[in-house]
Symmetry: C2
Subunit: 387 residues, 2 copies
């Protein structure tokens, strides 16, 4: 594999946008990204799109050429990738693999979801399709219920507390409040987080990520060509996608995601780094417990120590290993098909030193972890300053 660089990033704000359709969001992100990298549509050799459920949310399918055509990108492979909430992480993985292998030079990767046009119960039902609808789904378990079981078991096995979960929410809301593109820019207190409306015990509304509209895009090229487009490339040092069983009841241990651990090990190996070297990360906090599990699965802390790690402030903006400086899915928002690529944008913004109020001092080596369903798909990417 030849080295691959991210030369452009573009995102819409995340939020509820009743006047915007899915395509216009994706096109806005794509155009911003091409502008950022000084790339014309005619230079794009392939378009990789992550989208989870456009057909179910808005009735539109065949989204890759639909969006590409509106950006004047035709005559090249335009393909939609679906891997639940890791859809655009998967699109990015396949795109990086293709550029790394020499199949293309200039590739645009997008992610988009338009969720708020459906009422919340319908959204929950559509999201449940990322689980096993013949098993856990038929039994009535939607994702809040599945992650509530994970949280409960984590509490039982490792002594994780409600305060530890709430600490993740408080921290991510604090970060999101500093992010002009975040869906919910609202600082919350520990008391508020603990007193939230119950959704699926022990999870309250403050433990759950947001239902959002939004899109994100990145442009990648071989590292050797990056300087043609930008003086601030970020390098993809390691990347891996792996899979596991979809149904929670088929997993040996529900307090860990095997696919995340495997993807992380592969990505660390490819990058030639260890978990300790990672300075900051965007992790998949679809629920607060998921961020705690991620910090363990990625090797930032030992198994069972993710809760105290969060509670002690180790993952805060001024902590030793900041997680989700963007505000995460909890506060930035979680338009599911956009999330994977949005994480890449957020890591690259830190690497470039363009994260504004959230800018970190140590920002040369970051990680993005994107999760599909309750861990059946995992994509882990390690990005670094190219210089």
């Amino acid at each position: 594999m030849r080295p691959v660089a991210v030369i452009g990033i573009g995102k819409t704000a995340f939020g509820a946008f009743p006047d915007r359709d899915l395509r216009s969001l994706a096109v806005e992100a794509g155009r911003k990204c091409m502008e950022d990298a000084h790339v014309k549509p005619s230079q794009v050799e392939a378009f990789y799109l992550g989208n989870f459920a456009g057909p179910s949310f808005v009735g539109q399918n065949h989204l890759a050429p639909y969006i590409a055509g509106a950006m004047d990108i035709t005559g090249v492979p335009c393909t939609r990738f679906e891997a639940a909430c890791a859809s655009s992480g998967s699109a990015f993985f396949h795109a990086v693999s293709a550029v790394g292998a020499g199949l293309y030079d200039v590739v645009l990767v997008g992610g988009v979801e338009k969720m708020t046009s459906q009422p919340t119960p319908k959204v929950t039902e559509i999201l449940a399709g990322a689980g096993d609808m013949c098993g856990e789904g038929r039994a009535g378990a939607t994702f809040p219920a599945l992650f509530a079981m994970i949280a409960r078991r984590h509490m039982y096995q490792y002594g994780t507390t409600r305060e530890m979960l709430a600490a993740v929410a408080v921290k991510n809301h604090a970060n999101g409040a500093k992010n002009p593109q975040a869906h919910m820019r609202k600082v919350i207190t520990m008391e508020q987080a603990l007193g939230g409306k119950p959704i699926a015990d022990p999870l309250t509304v403050y433990d759950c990520s947001l239902i959002s509209d939004g899109a994100a895009a990145v442009l990648i090229v071989p590292l050797e060509r990056a300087s043609e487009f930008t003086d601030k490339p970020a390098r993809v040092l390691g990347i891996a996608q792996t899979s596991d069983q979809v149904a929670l009841d088929q997993k040996e241990d529900i307090t860990t995601f095997k696919a995340v651990k495997e993807a992380a090990q592969k990505a660390y190996k490819m990058a030639g780094v260890t978990a300790n070297d990672i300075q900051f990360a965007e992790v998949h906090d679809c629920f607060t417990i998921a961020e705690i599990v991620a910090s363990e699965d990625l090797g930032f802390v030992k198994k069972g120590e993710g809760g105290p790690y969060a509670l002690q402030g180790c993952t805060a903006l001024n902590g030793p290993r900041p997680l989700n400086t963007s505000g995460g899915l909890k506060s930035k928002g979680h338009p599911v098909g956009a999330t994977g690529v949005a994480q890449i944008c957020d890591v690259v913004a830190q690497i470039r030193g363009e994260a504004g109020e959230r800018q970190l001092q140590r920002h040369s080596l970051g990680l993005a972890q994107n999760l599909g369903g309750s861990g059946a798909t995992a994509v882990v990417t390690i990005l670094g300053a190219a210089a």
Copy 2:
């Protein structure tokens, strides 16, 4: 790109199977394919799945790890590709590209759709999502209407007749009647085809492909490793995926699919052959007019001559260039997400000499053409005997 070979094929029968769910169909095809190639699940390095609308048809999303897990394939990238009716053609294109580029050695590619659990009007609505739902879709144009417009324009510009359309249906039904795995094994006469119930004038029910359940799978490896698995490999000589605008009203000329022409030219170039060299093909006859347009776009005949070519029997089993010896989407059936990979299976079966009653004398160089929507995605593959 290193040469790539197809070492295994597996298909379910196509039809209406009220007692079978989507996953069991995909798993059956995958297992048959692995058995055919003597490959164990643990040897599979990546799983590429084409599916158009599982979430809309049966409420299940995140299909790649869902199906892979049931075949004991975990810990590797499992990804769903969606490109309307070219979904599994696109999955195959990306898989061949990845193996060709050296990313993997042993890759399983599947395609599946379970359509008959929904009533026909709902199926038509779901399929319409492959068009522009903000434009032609909102105006009420479903796919039969879009292809009726294409047929009408083709008649106007080139003198194509109802008899020519009907000749495609009669021929494909004759072929399908000889295919034990076809959905509709029913010989029809020209009179029947001409007298069919109108669907969207000038198209009758006999001009429309079938709503089917079914799955197909192929295994690919680098050609240099093919002999480890089989003594009858087929070689992927050329392959390309391209795209165009989704909406019919955005195309300059609706009697041709630009993306098909471009994909064909790229595939011919890669294979070092011309249209004249192609001995037989599986083409995307979602409607009879589509087979006529395909014969033109692929360069088998000049523009406008596809109708007479069909009427004169040139594309029949005993004609100079047989098209859709499987029965095509018209008679074999069209579980949309399975169609692209099923075409590859059918071409490989001919190349191997395993096409039974439909076996051709000249069968060493075949082509598969898979179309998404009204031509926004096209995948063209050229396969040949490896020896």
